[in-house]
Symmetry: C2
Subunit: 341 residues, 2 copies
């Protein structure tokens, strides 16, 4: 399954915009950011490709066009959203002790945790500095203000989600509702914000702005749930994550939360015993995968992802969107729930 064409269309524009936000910031602090974004290697030598799919900025641009706007107006906001996303990734990697991301060593694993905290904080500040320049792009001050408010509240939601995610680590009483509350903040909030801000910059139609926000929320939930499935059953060659990696990391991802909720008797005891261990070994991993199989966790997970996908589509039905762009939004949503990377 390949990336839909919309990703490619905006790619160079988003990339150039991101580079302009960093332009003139040349001290070593910013080298960590350039490294994280995939522009340079750890010695500062330029690389060919940027890192990541740029899902969120792509959705921001597409929402702007779908709402009838000129995508140039959304470019800066799209770059800002990618900065916010990446600031949280740098901090997440520190918090989760992850040594690899996108097939490369994480920032903290090269520069140490204290400096990696600074890299994330600097990106967070850069995002706010950049969004204040929307005015120079012909966006009215009131609208810029509203976009900035949405973005700042979304940053807070991301942190709330990350707080919940970490607080769930040593808890076994987490139900599917708790899980959804967490990913709604940790993942869906920024994807919804990407679409809402894109729509806001492309249109004054409040129904359209609201509809695209709600579409983004459903899409964001579906995205995270698909991610959870890939984190357990994904193909290592495509995801870069070994089979069952989220089990070894004891993540409270949807398949596990579902299994903890559904398992009874000996199965439940076995599951809890494994999750209470310091380290999950190969044998434990097989046991957990067996339990998930018996409970139909993979089917369940994909069903829930599709439920949110269907709900997302419902949110934009009947809106006066630009048809070609609306079709692309649906195409991306379908990619999100069916992707294998």
């Amino acid at each position: 399954m390949n990336l839909p064409p919309a990703f490619k269309r905006y790619r160079s524009g988003i990339d150039a915009e991101l580079r302009s936000v960093l332009a003139g910031r040349e001290t070593p602090l910013y080298e960590m950011i350039r490294y994280h974004l995939g522009w340079v290697d750890e010695h500062g030598h330029p690389l060919q490709d940027s890192a990541g799919k740029a899902l969120r900025p792509t959705l921001c641009m597409l929402a702007c066009e779908a709402a009838g706007g000129d995508w140039h107006k959304a470019l800066l906001a799209a770059a800002v959203i990618e900065l916010v996303h990446n600031f949280t990734l740098i901090h997440d990697d520190i918090q989760d002790d992850d040594t690899e991301r996108r097939h490369r060593p994480t920032v903290w694993s090269i520069w140490g945790k204290p400096q990696a905290i600074n890299a994330g904080d600097a990106m967070h500040s850069l995002a706010h500095i950049a969004i204040l320049r929307l005015e120079d792009r012909g966006v009215a001050l009131e609208k810029q203000q509203r976009a900035h408010r949405l973005l700042s509240e979304t940053c807070l939601r991301l942190v709330e989600g990350q707080y919940l995610d970490i607080s769930y680590e040593n808890r076994f009483d987490i139900g599917v509702n708790d899980y959804v509350e967490m990913i709604d903040r940790k993942t869906a909030a920024l994807i919804a914000c990407s679409l809402e801000v894109g729509a806001l910059l492309g249109s004054d139609n409040e129904a359209m702005i609201k509809g695209l926000f709600a579409f983004g929320r459903g899409l964001g939930l579906a995205f995270q749930i698909r991610d959870d499935a890939l984190g357990i059953w994904g193909d290592e060659r495509k995801t870069g994550k070994p089979l069952g990696s989220d089990i070894r990391r004891k993540k409270k991802s949807l398949p596990i939360v579902y299994a903890l909720e559904r398992a009874i008797g000996k199965t439940k005891t076995a599951l809890l015993n494994i999750y209470e261990k310091e380290v999950i070994d190969d044998q434990d991993l097989d046991a957990v995968l067996g339990i998930l199989d018996n409970l139909g966790a993979q089917d369940y997970t994909q069903r829930i992802a599709h439920k949110y996908f269907d709900g997302a589509l419902e949110e934009i039905r009947g809106l006066p969107l630009v048809p070609a762009r609306a079709r692309e939004l649906v195409e991306i949503a379908r990619f999100v729930v069916e992707r294998d990377f």
Copy 2:
């Protein structure tokens, strides 16, 4: 030496404003923030006093009045500045492995580093959300925009300063100029910003805004240098830090940077040998204190603090400030260079 009266005059207003920024944010994430601000103990039980002197918000309010403005206009910005300052303190404590601040356990030492990173990130976001509400206080959108820009650029400067501070840890070739470059960002930037934003909200007189910014910068440098002196020679009962604590922590504070620059021959070798050790013991501490004495480091440090104090006063000379408030600014500046806590 007591806190000048201006601190007390604004205290309850700043405190109420800060509490209103946090109002309605009730999940456990925000408990960490309330704890850090000294409002509750680690179990969430209310405490009598707030933590810290609130130097920066006090200067913001005073600058607004000194520039001829109504201090109510600066209240929200003052609270935002205190949030920014405290977000960086929470992250600094993680980075420096400090287990105590203001005579209390640090946030990370109670909740762990991953959640403490979230507490800092949340405060950073809250600061941006709050400053966007300046408009509701009758501040024109253009002025709010400018204040927000100053604040965001200042956040970035703080992170740059923290980056330098950490990068100096294992270096012995740091000179006084490098040191000043670091504290200019790490400390002086936010103090200068406090005065500049206060003046901006109180007046349209650009000379006054610029002058108060420059006054703040000098004051900020003097503040940090006095802090460095207290970190080595301060009275533990007053500062809460044991004698020589910054030596044990191997901080590149001004007395040490000066000594490294000035020492020659055997003295230099002795100093380097001690600083290359894993742990600095009591005997090492005495040796370093002896070297600092021989080189006149304490006199030098206080002389430099006074140099910046004098420079700060020069910056506001001749400005049409409200005389009573200008006198209070000078009084605070004098407190900053002479305080023993």
